[in-house]
Structures are given as C-alpha cells and as structure tokens.
C-alpha cells in the first residue's frame, strides 16, 4: 500500500499525505510557484505511449506526458524546468490530452486571442529518450519562478497582457492582405475548374447542373425544399371539402370537445400544483 510503493517524500506535505506512487505508471513531481509557497501541486508524468495501431504524432520513447500543469506555468517555463534532464526539443501545452500534434500553422495573434490558461496537460519532446527517464526520476519540488527567471503574475502580468493586446494595425493589414490574396486565388481556381466542368458529362454520362449554367436552378438547400413541400400541401388542401359530410361535422365537434378536455386536464394539473404550493391562501 502507501508505504510499500511510495518512493519520495516532500516536506510540508498536507495532512492527507499525497502518495507519490507510480500510479497507473504516473510519477508525481511536486511543483511550486516559487520558494515562498508552502504547499505544492503535483505534476503527474509518464512516458508517452499509445496502444498498437493508434496514430500519434508525438515521437515514442522521447515524449513525456505531463498532467496537471498549473496555470502560471508556461511552455518556456516547463522547458526550462525539464532541461536538466536532457535537451528539450519542444513543449506543447494543451487543455486536454490530444494525440495529434496541434496544427503547426502559425496562429494569428489578431484572430485567435490568447486563451486564459487553467490546469493543462503537456507533451514534452526530448532530443533523446534519456530525457524521459531522467524526468521520471525528478525529485522536485520544481520552482516555476526563480530569481534568475522570474515569472510574471497578478498585476504585472495583466499590465503586460494589456500591452500585448494593443496591436499594430499595419501588421494586421498585412496579414489580412496576404490571407485575402491566397483566398482570392483559391476561389479563382475553383471557378475556373467549375467552368471547365460545366456541361461536361462524367464517365457515366451524368451532367452536373450548377447555378452558373445557362439555365440556373434553385440552390439545393433545406429551406428551399421545405418551401416546395409546403406549396404542394397547400395546393392539396385547397381541393379538399371542409365540413361537407356528416362525419366531418361530427369529427370537428369531437375535436373541439377533445381540445376542451385537454385544456381542462391541463388546468386541473395547474390547480393541483398551485394547491400543493398553497397558492390559494389569499393572505
């Protein structure tokens, strides 16, 4: 149990002593913001492994999977904290475990605002497999902010975030222009391709009818098809006779009665509820 499996003991541990067990193959590494704090959080780390056949873009053996990364711990920070174990190639923080590497497309700082971090998971890729095993043997506690590498928090962080949020409009303009150029090019290409295919039968001999043809057709949308159905229904309804036969009369009356009955039942239910809430005591 507790005594048998645990290997390391941390000073100032809480009353419910945390178990630094290699739990489900995870190792707990205490982490603190700085030396001033008493209690620590625990990074739960293990080697990144996937079941046979599962695709993962993270390299096997060299990737360390880290759970419970505190909000003030950034990617650079984690890289710095783990570099003693061996050279770190990349650190990626994510909200939840995701096997696929996030798209490496450059994130636009204009269109994707920086999210507020919570507790995250990290994939740390070392240069060599040795880094992972060294990390698993880390004793901690790791300190996020040190004198040599202070990490901003609180007021200082908000002020620097504010400064970062004031962006250069010219850079925005340039980015928009580049994007639109590429977009226009893409659209033009698609147009050209569509133009080419216009009226050309495929191998089975079908011809695709598009909006651009000589005789444009309705776009194929749900709304349009609903409209057509509704029109059909109304056309049919116009042809029907109402209250013409005796049975129709009888049915209309019965329908009215059924409506009243339904209403009555609803009302009774409401009254029942109000009675239960003593809504009928006037004062």
């Amino acid at each position: 149990t507790d005594e048998g499996t645990h290997e390391r003991r941390v000073e100032g541990a809480p009353v419910n002593r945390p178990v630094h067990a290699d739990l489900y193959s995870h190792t707990a590494i205490p982490v603190k913001f700085s030396g001033k704090q008493q209690a620590s959080h625990y990074l739960y780390v293990r080697e990144h492994r996937v079941r046979e056949g599962t695709k993962s873009s993270w390299p096997q053996k060299r990737t360390l999977f880290v759970l419970n990364v505190p909000p003030y711990c950034t990617e650079e920070c984690l890289s710095r904290l783990l570099s003693p174990c061996g050279p770190v190639r990349s650190v990626e923080l994510q909200e939840k475990p995701d096997l696929a590497e996030s798209p490496k497309e450059p994130q636009s700082k204009f269109f994707q605002p920086k999210p507020i971090p919570g507790f995250q998971v990290a994939y740390v890729v070392f240069q060599k497999p040795g880094g992972v095993s060294a990390a698993l043997a880390l004793k901690g506690p790791l300190l996020v902010s040190t004198e040599s590498h202070p990490v901003k928090s609180g007021v200082h962080k908000w002020i620097s975030d504010y400064r970062d949020s004031v962006l250069d409009p010219e850079a925005l303009r340039a980015e928009v222009d580049t994007f639109m150029e590429a977009y226009d090019k893409k659209v033009a290409e698609e147009e050209a391709k569509a133009q080419e295919e216009e009226g050309v039968p495929d191998e089975e001999g079908w011809v695709k009818v598009t909006r651009r043809g000589r005789r444009p057709v309705l776009p194929r949308t749900e709304a349009a098809s609903l409209r057509v159905l509704e029109r059909e229904r109304r056309k049919r309804a116009r042809k029907e006779l109402l209250n013409f036969y005796a049975w129709q009369h009888r049915e209309t009356k019965m329908e009215h009665l059924a409506q009243l009955r339904k209403k009555f039942e609803e009302d009774k239910q409401r009254i029942e509820l109000m009675r239960a809430q003593r809504k009928f005591r006037p004062y």
């Binding site: 149990t1 419910n16 998971v121 007021v155 400064r163 509820l273 809504k279």
Partner: protein
Amino acid sequence: MGPAPAGAQVRGAAGEPEVMEPALEGTGKKGKKGSSKKRTVAGSPGEGLLQPVKLSRAELYKEPTNEELNRLRETESLFHSSLLRLQVEELLKEVRLSEKKKERIDAFLREVNQRIMRIPSTPETEEILQDKDGLNQRYFRKRALYLAHLAHHLAQDPLFGSVHFSYTNGCHLKPSLLLRPHGKDERLVTVRLHPCPPPDFFRPCRLLPSKNNVRSAWYRGQSPPGNGSPEPPTPHYNTWVLQDTALESHMQLLSTVLGSALGLKDGVALLKIWLRQRELDKGLGGFSGFLVSMLVAFLVSTRKIHTTMSGYQVLRSVLQFLATTDLTVNGISLCLSSDPSLPALADFHQAFPVVFLDSSGRLNLCADVTASTYHQVQHEARLSMVLLDSKADDGFQLLLMTPKPMIRAFDHVLHLHPLSRLQAACHRLKLWPELQDHGGDYVSAALGPLTTLLEQGLGSRLHLLAHSRPPVSEWDISQDPPKHRDSGTLTLGLLLRPEGLTSVLELGPEADQPEAADFRQFWGSRSELRRFQDGAIREAVVWEAASMAQKRLIPHQVVTHLLALHADIPDTCVHYMGGLLDVLMQGLKETSSTGEEALAAAVRCYDDLSRLLWGLEGLPLTVSAVQGAHPVLRYTEVFPPAPIQPAYSFFEHLREQASLLPRPDKPCPAYVEPMTVICHLEGSGQWPQDAEAIRRVRAAFQLRLAELLTQQHGLRCRATATHTDVLKDGFVFRICVAYQREPQILKEMRSPEGMISLRDTPASLCLERATRQLPLLTSALHGLQQQHPAFSGVARLAKRWVRAQLLGEGFTDESLDLVAAALFLHPEPFTPPSSPEVGFLRFLFLVSTFDWKNNPLIVNLNNELTVEEQVEIRSGFLATRLQLPVMVVYTPQDRKSSVWTQDGPSPQILQRLVVLAAEALPVLEKQLMDPRGPGDIRTVFRPPLDMYDVLIRLSPRHIPRHRQAVDSPAASFCRGLLSEPGSLSLMPVLGYDPPQLYLAQLREAFGHLALFFYDQHGGEVIGVLWKPASFQPQPFKASNTKGRMVVSQGEELVLVPNVEAILEDFAILGEGLVQAVEARSERWTV
C-alpha cells in the same frame, strides 16, 4: 335596554362572514405558508413541475356524458375559462367556513347568548334611555356604560379566553365588546357585541344630515357665538346614531338577498378578498365587507345582478359598476319609497363626499368613506376591469391573490408623525364644526381637508392620492382606551403621473385676474410674478430642480410647503419616503442627479457618432444600419460613463499606437468601458461566402473605418480585427462591423447528398445574439425609457442590488434589464412605476414570487405579441421545459430559446436570488414604512458573507471602481484623471479591470472546484464557495487531475482537490491585487 338587542346582534354576527377572518389571520398560519413556499422552490427539479398533459386517444374522444357537457357549457357562459373557474372554486374552498367550525361557532354563540341573558341586574331599555338622549353624545355614553357593565360580568366567565373592547368600525364614540372563546378555539372566532337602541327610539327626522345634535355650547363649554349664527350640522354624528338603529334591518336585508343565492355569497366573499388585498376594507371609513355586501344588494335590486349569477360574474358586475359610476356626484339609494318627507340625495351630497343610502333613505352607508378612499376604490376597480378584459392567463392571481400594500402600490409615500400635530392643523384649517361633528377625532376631521389641499397642490403631478385609515385598536377591559394620537401614523400614498413630473413650473393666472389673489393665497411666499416669453405676466411657482431625480422629488417640496403653510405641520413631522434609494445610483461627485442626464449625454454623443458613420465617405460598401448594443445606450448602466480626461503623467505611453498603458507602480487607472455599437454594412456580391474570409474582410473594414474617421473627423481610433475603438468627446465607443448574412453562413451544413441545411452552431448563435438580437433589445428598451422615465432608475437599482449581493456574474445584463422592463410592460395589478424605489420593491417581489419553474416571463416589448401568441408561447414552453434554462425570459424577438438566460443563472444561483429577494423585500418595506425614518437604507444592499468558504480580500489600490462601492469609501486612490478638460489625443486605457481579469483566471483554473462571487461595483472581497460534488474523491483519470492530488483512502488511491496549494494559487494569480486569502470553513477537509 333589554337583552334582546344584544341577542339580535349575536344572530347578526353569526350571519356575518366577518367571523371567517380571524380563522385566516393567525401568525401560526403565516409561518406555515412561508415554509411551504421554500419547500416547493427548493424541491428537486422534477418535483412541482408542470408536465405536458398526455391523454389517451380513447379518453380524448369518448362520448361525453350529459353532466360533462353541462359543466363545459356552464364554464363557457359563467366564467372566462375553465382555469378561472377551478381557481375561483379553490379559493372559495380556502376561505369558506367548514361545517365543523361552523358548528363550534354556533355552539359558542348560543352560549354567549345565554350568558348575556343571565347577567344580573341588567337594566331595561326604558330605564336607561330617555328623551333627547340623541343630543350631545348622551346616547353614546350610556351605550358605553351599558357595554362596560356587560364586560364586567362577562370577563369573570370562564367561557371566554379574552374579553376586549374595540371600536365599531373605528368610530371612537361606539365601543364594542370582543369575546373570544377560551382554550384552543381562541383563534377560531371573535364575537362582537354591539348594543343597539330599540328600532323606533330615535325620531329619524332629528337625525337628518342637516341637523345638529351636538350643541356648540356643550361641546366647547361656552355659550354659542353671540351673533346668533346657526348651529353647524353634525352629519357624521347623526349617522353613527342611525347606524345603531338600522343595524338589525340591514342584517335582515342582507340575509334575505344573499341567503338563498349561492353565487351572490361567493361573489361577496370574492369581493371581500379583493378589498382586503388592496387594504381598502380596514379602519374608519374603509370600504368594508358590509358596504360591498350592501352594494351587491343594491345591484340585485336594480337588476344589474341576477341571483343565478356565478361568484365570478358578481365580482365582475360590482367592479364594472364601481369603475363606471361616480358616487361622489350621483349617489345611489336602496330606498324605493317616494315619500316626500325623505331628504333629497342632494342634501346628502352636501354633507358627505360619497353617497349610498340604505333602504330607509335616511342613512348614508358611505358616511365615513372619504373621497380619497372612494377614488382609490374606483381606481382599483378600473385597473381590475382592464385586467379582466385583457384575458390574461394569470388574471386570477393578479386580481385576487396579489397583495397591494401601500408601500408597493404608490410611487411615493409620506408619513405624518406624530399625529398630535394634526390637532393644531385642525385649528389652523378652522375645522371646529368638523371636530364637533367627529366628537373631537382630529385625525378624521383633518383627513378630508388635508387630502383636498394636497390634491390641489400636486395637480398634474398626481394621479391618485390615498391615505391610510386609522387602525381599529383593541384593548383589554381593564385598560384605558387609546387616544387619537396613539393610532400611530397617518400615511399618504402618492401615485404620480410621469408626464407631470417634467415641469418645474406651476403656472398661475395673469396678474390682473381676480384668481391671482387665490393663487397667491394658496402658494404663499412661493408665488412670484413672472414675465413669460409670450409677453404675459403671470403668477407662478417655480421649484428648484435641475435633474430628473430632483424633478421626481418636486412633490416632496410641494407637500412640505403646503402643509407648513396651511396646516401648520412643520417639515420635521413630514417623513417623506421618496428618492431614498437614489444614493445607490449616484456617482461620487454627483449628489443631485441619479445619472439620467449623464446617460442622455452619452446617448447624444452616440447619436453624433452614428451620424458621422452614416456620412462617411470612401467606404467600399455603404453603412446600412448603426445600432447601439450597450447598456448605456438603453439607459440601464448602473454607473453612467463620464467623459474622461486622462493625466498623461500617470500612464506609460505606447507611442506608435498613440495609446496609454497602465503603470505597475501606480494605482489602477480609472475604468473605461467602451460602448459597443454595431455597424451593419450593406449586403453585396463582393462579400466572400466563407466564414474565415468574411472575418478577414471585416477586419479590413475595421481598419478602413479607423482611417476614415481619423482623416475626415479627426477622431482618435484604434482598430483590431473585430472592432474599432473610437474616442469622441471623452467617450469611447467600440464599433463592430457586421455583415447580415454571416450568421447564416456559419450555420450552413452540407449533408452527404449535397443538400445545404441550416443548423445553429455556438458561433452562429453568439454572433446572432451580438449583432442582431442585442441591438434590437437595446433599441426596444431605449424606446421604453422614452415612455417610462423611471425605467432607467428601476433597472439600474435592480442590477445594482443583484451585483451587490455578489450574484451579478450569474445573470446577463440583458436578462435583468428585461425583468425590469416587465415591471413596466406588465405592471398588473399595479400601474407602471413612476419612481425607482417602488419599481425596485416590485422587482424584489416579482423575483421572489415568480414561479420560474412553471412559467416563462414574457416581456411583450412594443406590445407585439397578441394574447393568442402568448398562449402558444406558453404551451411551447411547457412542452420543452426540460431543455430550457431555469429562468426563461421571452420577448417578441425571442419566442423559443430565451437567449439572455441560456448561459445562466444556474438553478442554485437563481434560488439564492429568490431567497435573498424574499428576505430583502420585507426589510426594505419595513424601513420605508417606519415613520421615524428608514434608518440605514443600504442594509439590504450589503451581502451576507458568512456562507462563503474562502474570502479573498482585495487591495483597493487595484480596484478601479472602488468608489462605486455600496458603502462608498471616504478616500480612495487617484485614478489618473484630470478634473479640467484638456487636449486629448491618446487612447485611454480601455476595459482594464484587475478584479475582472483575476476572476476570469480563477474561474478558468478552478471553475470545476469552486464558485466565485464578486461585486463589480467596487467590491473589496471575492467570496469562494467550494463545489461539494467536486470534493468527492475521484478515481485517477487524466481529465480528473486538474488541481487535484493523489491520496490513499483505505485501500484505494483517489484524487482529491489540493486545497492548500489552491489557496496559495489564489494569492499567486492575484499578486498585487490580493491582500489576504481567508479560509473560513473546514468543510473542504476530505
């Protein structure tokens, strides 16, 4: 006087439904009611929830029985709807005396009768009463002595639990004896003994309203004035004597008319409830249950009511009659005789404000009813008729079940205290004959003239003036009766006319007109000669009032001035309850305004900006609409923005962006929130049809807008991808470009077959809300403010209160604005509030009593929804209840999804608000009804903090809105603002509010473990509540590890929150802002 009259009275009492009332009063019952409400609200979500009715086909379509058809037919003809019928039946069941109780009461009455018969040495009538006893209160004094004799004997009887004196209908000359049974039945029944003279004892002609029966010589203890002026008539005195002689015949009349017809009895019971809910039936001159029963008898005699009518129809007919007739001008009479010796109605009109004669033709049943009380009854009847005709779904609830206490019904309320002051007022108003008539009751004597005086003075500002009636006191037979001054306070309620409140001028006649003298006399020193623009020279009174808030309080000035001038009542005795909550809406430096002017200034600036946008040259597409989308632009921002003037030395400068930045070494700069404006651009083929591309094009427009506004109008702008901030005249606006079709493009989904269908996505809903629904709502509420000037105040007080209770984050701004709007659009059974206070009280009442579980709050903006549509919305609501948020608010633009409450409140937060509102309402109402002054009006705005597990104390240095706090700090930090306007060219720091940034971080990191509560208006503390569920030990899983640690629990290894580290995190994340983290409970130890 033998025992017979007393016996007759006992019989009468048995027939009088008044006996029912004590059975309903009882404090024990009230307590039960309160607890039951709590229970139903707190119940599990499924419990107490209306389910859509499911009837099988066989049940729905079975052959109807005759009985069923009859009932359905009856419902259609006698009631509005089956619901109303059921509700009325339930209500009557609730107030009707049960057979068992009736038996017990009858037995008690028989006992009482026997005991009275057995009282020894009771003198006979002839021995006591003598000729001319009608004069000079002789009859009343003998009557009181007789009663004292009875009381003395009955008090020794063990049958009675208590023997008290009281006044008959509050008339202090006519005591009555209250007998309550001993033991457990003490609360069951009160028997009132009224001694009466034999029916023919007084000659009726001596008691006509024009006769005098209280001689001045006797009353004033001096010989009549030497000039031989005639004795003043004593109509009220005469009536009181007549009432005693007619008592028995009235009872007989009522029992013959009402006895046989069940519908009439039900109708009377409903009417009594109606009156009671409106506090109209109690005290001297109240519109009592007896009066309304007589009114029913009158309407039966004139065939306006038939004996076959249902209770509901009787109620409706009586209300209709009250609403459409005026008994102050055309009195009515139950008397059918055409005897010429009878006095004419006109004689009665001369002596009494309201005239309703009994069957003798000599007694005015409404003798004590003041004109004000009667007008109030009329007003209520009219409101009720409108309500009944509107076929509102909850008409029954509003008509009969909703109490209308004075403090909640009237815009302003004032207390006259101490009452003894009215004695001097009577002398000042020369009311000696009235005093003589009322037997020295100076409160009643002064009431009529005082209300007339105030009604005249308030003129067009006043819709209705009502007064409280002195309560009917009760005292032990061994005590002295209460004095007039002991009857507490005279409370007047003013229902104001919003359109009359805008004027500061009281225009009088031209100086040379004869009426000018009257005007001067009426207004005293306040009346001045003024020359007007049209050249006329007139008498006029001008009140000092610059702001909306001050104009609302002109009635206060009028009332104190007139009372001091004409009635000798100094302003120390006038306790005016109006504008007391204004302090909670006032900015630091403004004490004379509640912000309506500042909001209007911001709106004007916005109008200017929108004109600039319309006229902008050089945009590739034209502007198709400019719409406001910010609370300021609908007048509901609690603290309106002021034009700002930053002191540059206080900030760091970002040269290339011409912007100011906060400095770490300085206190947090003033908070500036940009006001959102949506700018729609015309649709065009040039817009791309791809969501990502549209965003880029919009960004390009934002940049272009900034360029053009700077070039063409010299405004400082800063563009980002989603908005352009514009600095104009010290206000900052955030212009967001929108493209009509963008939400639709976000919704488009292509099925595998190539069919394009539209499906809501989070992004499309969000965009639709921001660019379509929010502007519509803003303009609708802007319009509401133009119709109801008090809307701004009510909405802001309501929001202020919710935020002060630290619940602001749970509710969107818009949802609270809509609840406030509902108070104006659906004020029933009240009228739309004309003062922020009364609106706020009704907000608390609505929030605490509305059945959010089973009803949507439908806010019919611009009156767009018809009754049928509302019914449809309600049934749609029931069918989809479980998918809808806990609090559902619908508008004509939003009939299905309740967009503004989609993301909250959670059931717990709503429940908390309901509980807090239910607690705050009585506290605040008690404060406002306290004649000695309201005490600390901020009490209900201070949040209880004892429920939180952790308190995070913040440093005021970094709270930019510190001075907005409910208890505004005496000193705070400099926020880098100049008091003088200077040249302004750099963009100020926008939307920088450290507590909000901190909270966002806390919620992101610990939202799964705890709830965070904060008052954005200068709160110095964040309340943290651990979520109990998250403290359950969890198995080890990657998704469970956040902020948790592994501990061993028995044999197992589980995850529990790492509380100690988290508490330290609170301090780390808020470094500089956080002063202290106080863990206050040990609940989190696992």
